[in-house]
Amino acid sequence: MTAFLAGLEPRIDARHPAWLQALRHAALQWVAEHGFPTARDEAWKYTRVAPILEIPFQLAEPGPRWSAAQVEALVGDYGGPCLVFFNGYFDAGLSELDGLPPGIEVSHLAPQLLADSGALEGLFGHAFQTRPQAFTALNTALAEEGALVRIPAGTTVETPIHLVFLAAAGVAPQVMHTRVLVQMGAGSRATLVESHAGIEGEVYFSNAVSEVVLEADAALEHYKVQNESRAAFHVALLSVRQAEGSAFTGHSWALGAALARQEVRVVLEGPGAQVALNGLYLPRGVQHLDNQTTIEHLAPRCTSRELYKGVVDDRGHGVFDGRIIVRPGAMKTDASQTIKTLLLSATAQANTQPRLEILADDVKCAHGAAVGQLDEQAVFYLRSRGLPEAQARSLLTFAFVSELLERIGPAPLRAHVEQLVTAQLRGLEVAA
């Protein structure tokens, strides 16, 4: 841990607003005092941070530029506004911000932080201040770039807003701390796609934090596509706060990285808010893919739905830990959580842990978790109709994940993710 922290200083620019300077000091101080999570932390029972801390990561430098075609091949193009970051640095040339409807703000964060007179404080500092954790604190102390998306009240953005975080090759292992801040005004609607990818085989560490605030009746469809290098590390927090009547749908695909941990934290603050979290994780080889979700029902009549599926092969390890907390006063809560894991090899490993903490009366909470293998009777049925065994197994595996692919709204995004998922599953077929 000391090796990791040695030489780290908060990134403080004399031009930064006072609140940010103070916050960065506090965040780094927090890490120095509390350190990194260990196996004794319930939420980190199955994920060791040692492999990350052992590598002397250096703060990333701007990398070589890629062509637009290279970027598109890796993360797709969804026809809307797009912000591209290389190694955490904004690339104006590859970003596309033309044609944004008036009043809608999609910009990169660095200049906004410098110019801020306090408007961003509540957004930027919230995750660290409410539930501090080492990686969130590091991001708070060190993140300089990222995206700021503000949608005014009553406005609908039709095309998906695409945020692209790419890791280019570096001489030494690099770490990048990026930040996304999203403010959805009352009654506004938008779709946001976060793509995280890098050059295959590169070792780097991407530590990302996204903060989302939905005001009353706002609706956001959020897609996170994690397709980092299979040698990289990815730790991310998505923190969402929802006011009355708002609707948030999160989709998470964990495909890449040697070790990845995606945490989603949703607080239902206003009555009648709705959240749906969908997730798919496909660890193979020696990948370790961890998903942590916490949905906190604070207000009455809120609805939460969760569907996560994992397909684990080779010596892969899939983790799902889902907390649902129903606070006193959150009457008429309607919550459900479904986790299904498919193990394709004898050495594949999965840990799923639903955790329900219900502190209110008159609530509906359902949860189910299943870990299993391919149905051998179904495999035989398909083979008896002429499908070769490998094709039968891959068809059934694909059928298992198709439910989540069908939930993707924008057609080009669905096609792109389907392609990534197929490639990942095809690796399984070869290994079988």
Binding site: A378, R383, S384, L387
Partner: protein, 254 residues
């Protein structure tokens, strides 16, 4: 076409088939009747390639060693099993599944694969054969199908795949009389001089509609008697009791 010689099959040391010998020629329809537990379904499964049995003996299909072939090789060679309990496959559309299967078979037979449009035409035509509702085309394979719908779906699949040897394992069970007539009519439409049928049933009823050339009575893992279609009528009258007692013999455990 099919030549079974002294076929034995067992599970965990318990013998279920105890020396089956049976010869089926192209164009023939054979019926196997017998009480529950006589081994009828095991025979069907062993012929289709279920690998949970220890099998010995010989099965030649067009002169090839059938027991050495994988289930998919048997399917490509023209063997089709209509399952007694068709398997539900959530997430796989019925039509998509069948097109994949047909094209897998065509590809391995060196034929051109059918595109979605050509396949749809074929599917519509063959669905009419078993009076299957077209709404079943895009539903997941057998998911939320009634018992009768599942059986129709099996015969629909048979109509698409056009096997040379079709084994119908208790296709009549769970069918009401109207569905039975429809399914039987579908099967009869597929009868031809090149195609053989092995119909496994507990009841004579099905054989009123699919009239067999030969009827075999199976009990305790053996074929105890063979005859023409009249044998089925005798069985309907007298039941299987005499075969079961005869097979047990003195000293057998009850």
């Amino acid at each position: 076409m099919l030549d079974i010689k002294n076929l034995h099959a067992g599970v965990e040391g318990r013998e279920i088939l105890r020396g089956i010998t049976l010869r089926i020629e192209a164009g023939e329809v054979h019926a196997i009747m017998g009480p529950n537990g006589s081994g009828k379904s095991t025979l069907a499964q062993v012929l289709a390639g279920v690998d949970t049995y220890q099998v010995s003996g010989q099965v030649l299909y067009d002169g090839q060693d059938l027991l050495a072939m994988t289930p998919e090789e048997r399917a490509v060679a023209g063997i089709f099993l209509a399952f007694q309990y068709p398997v539900e496959i959530p997430g796989v559309g019925n039509l998509y599944f069948l097109r994949t299967a047909l094209n897998a078979v065509r590809k391995q037979r060196g034929l051109e694969e059918l595109d979605a449009m050509d396949f749809l035409e074929l599917a519509k035509e063959r669905m009419a054969l078993v009076e299957m509702d077209p709404s079943f085309m895009n539903r997941s394979v057998n998911v939320d199908f009634s018992g009768g719908e599942k059986k129709r779906n099996e015969i629909f699949q048979m109509a698409i795949l056009e096997p040379r040897l079709a084994i119908l394992d208790e296709t009549d069970s769970g069918l009401d009389i109207d569905a039975l007539r429809t399914v039987a009519a579908g099967v009869n439409a597929l009868r031809s001089k090149d195609r053989a049928l092995l119909v496994i049933t507990h009841y004579q009823r099905l054989l009123d509609y699919i009239v067999p050339d030969r009827v075999h009575v199976m009990a305790n893992g053996r074929i105890e008697q063979s005859g023409d279609k009249d044998l089925a009528l005798q069985l309907e009258k007298h039941g299987y009791g005499s075969y079961e007692q005869a097979a047990m013999g003195p000293g057998a455990k009850t």
